[in-house]
Symmetry: D2
Subunit: 263 residues, 4 copies
């Protein structure tokens, strides 16, 4: 007699009956972090290679987010922070949607942790590994603290496969700042998985929008910033050409992702 | 007039018209590496949580492979080896298939590079990140070289999220060795991707067998080995209980993966 | 004519006329960070192997500090934070000095950045490389933020050469906390360099006390904590036996080191 | 009664009575590795900032070595290879000594392991941390193996603090090659340690030559190579200007360092 069927409880591989080994547990996923956001302008035509027209048309505006995250599901990751903490660099481009509305689209993003990498791919954030560094602001009046006040300076960088791709520098102005990029507009991305049984066929892509809830924080600190995009042999983001930094802001943010929605 | 539709050329995300940024290019994928293989026995019943019955029934035999790989598609990765090299630890368990034949099944595997991690997930190798170390054998008569001859000693270890999970030690016997584990039997794995639009639903899994071609090398060097499995809070592999090392071998191997087959 | 002699301007190797390549620039060194401090009791006799009697006699009290630092000399490192940020785990033991006074002594410390490693060795902090993780407290009311208030939970861990050595968990009580360990008492350490021209001779050690100035912050948050010391084949810290956590605190701190003093 | 004085047994910090925790054990240090050596010419005058005249005058020749090492003292590190393996990039410049003889001098070297970093500083190899990648040659006839025969192509790179500094590509010619750089001539370096009690004083440097014994291997494979030196804000090696690759070779080498000699 075969009393009970074998049922795996894994949201992602490996698939086991406990689900404990799964790299990514199911949502909700709670994230809190420190971000530096640098909005930029670029030649909208240059985005053609990066943005599916079904998503919309690039407007020539975008944003780079450098983020230092802490993520958890039920809290246990905060007790073993090697499971919780990671840094990432997010590029989003503003699109005009077919219906005339605006949104953001993520053509490139790099992270330094496996859990986040796969969790991103599921949401349409096309994550690869990269090394992000970002000055933190500590609540101290000290030369190494970069406190949240006028004149404090922050730096950020992204390297992919041992090569610098993005560098930013920012000076806080002391004024309130704006949410920028994915903080200001809904953001969509493309999900797709090839099937190795038909290895000549490229995957069909589905446009999704992460369902972001319960945002807290968002007291952004305004900044003046510079942004540098460097050439990289394996990164199409270089096709955007020169990125001209406009507004910038820094601050803390908490969000919860509960799933994804069709676009 | 919109002459040509937008077509992405990416095998995996991100999806761009050049395909250049895709983390994983399409197969064929050529791999060459140095491996330490430690076959083990364990209590077959302990595999119940790890192996879908549709794949087969565990026989109580398995193998750990510690591998130091170099991988390439068209050769360009060998000119920039940060793109080509990685290390991984592979666990495979022998199954008896419903038709009475034998195969291997991969319930757990850890790698240290993003390209390989995603490439593995596509094949049914449920890769997560881990840190593998493996003594190399150099063609020198020197105390640090561990040459391929009787008496040379090798060590290997796997750590996941800063905790040791597997440790092995081996002494070459000077005799010819055997291909073990996935080197001796076809190996199957489970592929599945959750859909975030239905986040309460766990993914259906598909059993696949990687299509491995063009094997070269395989002059295995026999070894006597010990194997240690340590507890880890996020790894079900510990459910296997004690692993009792049997045969072991070390050597170089080249293979090419061209796609995957239904099981 | 040889007008001017060749003078190097490096505080540490490599030695060049610009001094720009030197791994460590001269002090002052400004540090700001987030720390979790866990004071512990242990069997004082167990420290005999770790503490030179010339430094004093262990009292059976000590402290582990998990620290997430940002360091700078003239501010330029904050603009390129890969130069500024690192994490470390510090163990200090309380000593009774020959004159009856109390101080701390550092028998073991692990860091994840080269600059800090050498800078530590110069000060008598015997740094080796290790991987430290420490939950951060973000000023947000969010499940992933661990804000500085009663009930927030923090975790910390140290791994050395891929093995866990220390693990701590803490719950903030909501009460004000105490400076502990090196935050409460002057701390001394041993400096010594072998001379490879006499490789059989072990180095003589000099006891130094880092000259710490300009402390800011120190609004410590009280915590209840547990502490776990795990065996490691290359770490004498295990000789201390069981560490019994007493008080704990967390908070931000800024300090400046200007040099070192004889003990 | 105080029967026996406290004696530490550590070659380097930390200083304990067991010596077990010492980052670097005393020599002999046995090294075996795979190396790519690229000899280059450059403008000799450009070395003025990097070479103490007491060492000699640069001739305008030098060599970059990319090395993938395995090191051990008594063999135990080979059983736990996280203790044994590391990669490094070595730059040496040829000098004419005051007595007319020739030698090499090491102005810059980067490694990825703490043990090797400190061991280098003791020998006059001014090591800092860096990320080295180097294609390996495996004894297989396979597209990913780069076997030691005419036409095989190798790549190598160095990144320091997330920026590329050196890149090389080589094609094996099938002819026997030459030992180059530190493999061909004795190599000297500068050792010096600042004293933090006098933090305004830069250290005096001592020129040493590592005492290298028991060389084995050295069947070098000739290669044609290109070499690229990229600018880095914290690396004086860029002062050398353009490096024009001459000869190159690859192969396995074993050596033992027993101490150092005065120059």
């Amino acid at each position: 007699m075969h009393a009970s069927p074998w049922i795996h409880r894994s949201f992602t591989a490996p698939f086991t009956t406990t689900g404990r080994s799964a790299l990514v547990p199911p949502p909700p996923w709670h994230y809190a972090g420190w971000l530096l956001n640098v909005a930029f302008r670029f030649d909208a035509a240059a985005a053609a290679a990066l943005v599916p027209p079904a998503a919309g048309q690039a407007t020539g505006r975008g944003c780079v987010h450098f983020a230092d995250w802490q993520a958890t599901t039920d809290g246990h990751e905060l007790l073993d922070p090697v499971m919780a903490q990671y840094r990432e660099t997010i590029v989003v481009l503003e699109l005009e949607r077919p219906d005339g509305s605006r949104c953001m689209y993520c053509p490139a993003i790099w992270v330094d942790q496996d859990i986040s990498m796969l969790r991103g791919l599921l949401q349409g954030w096309p994550k690869k590994m990269g090394s992000t560094w970002l000055t933190r602001s500590l609540p101290l009046d000290h030369p190494a603290a970069a406190p949240c006040r006028a004149g404090s300076r922050l730096g950020a960088s992204l390297a992919v496969k041992d090569r610098r791709v993005l560098e930013a520098r920012a000076t806080l102005t002391g004024r309130p700042g704006l949410p920028l990029g994915f903080l200001a507009q809904p953001t969509i991305g493309a999900v797709g998985w090839p099937d190795l049984r038909q290895p000549r066929q490229l995957p069909e892509i589905t446009l999704l929008r992460a369902d972001i809830q319960g945002r807290v924080g968002g007291d952004w600190f305004d900044a003046e910033a510079t942004l540098h995009l460097l050439p990289h042999p394996a990164e199409d983001i270089g096709l955007l050409g020169e990125l001209s930094a406009e507004q910038a802001s820094a601050g803390w943010l908490g969000i919860t992702v509960t799933g994804a929605l069709d676009v």
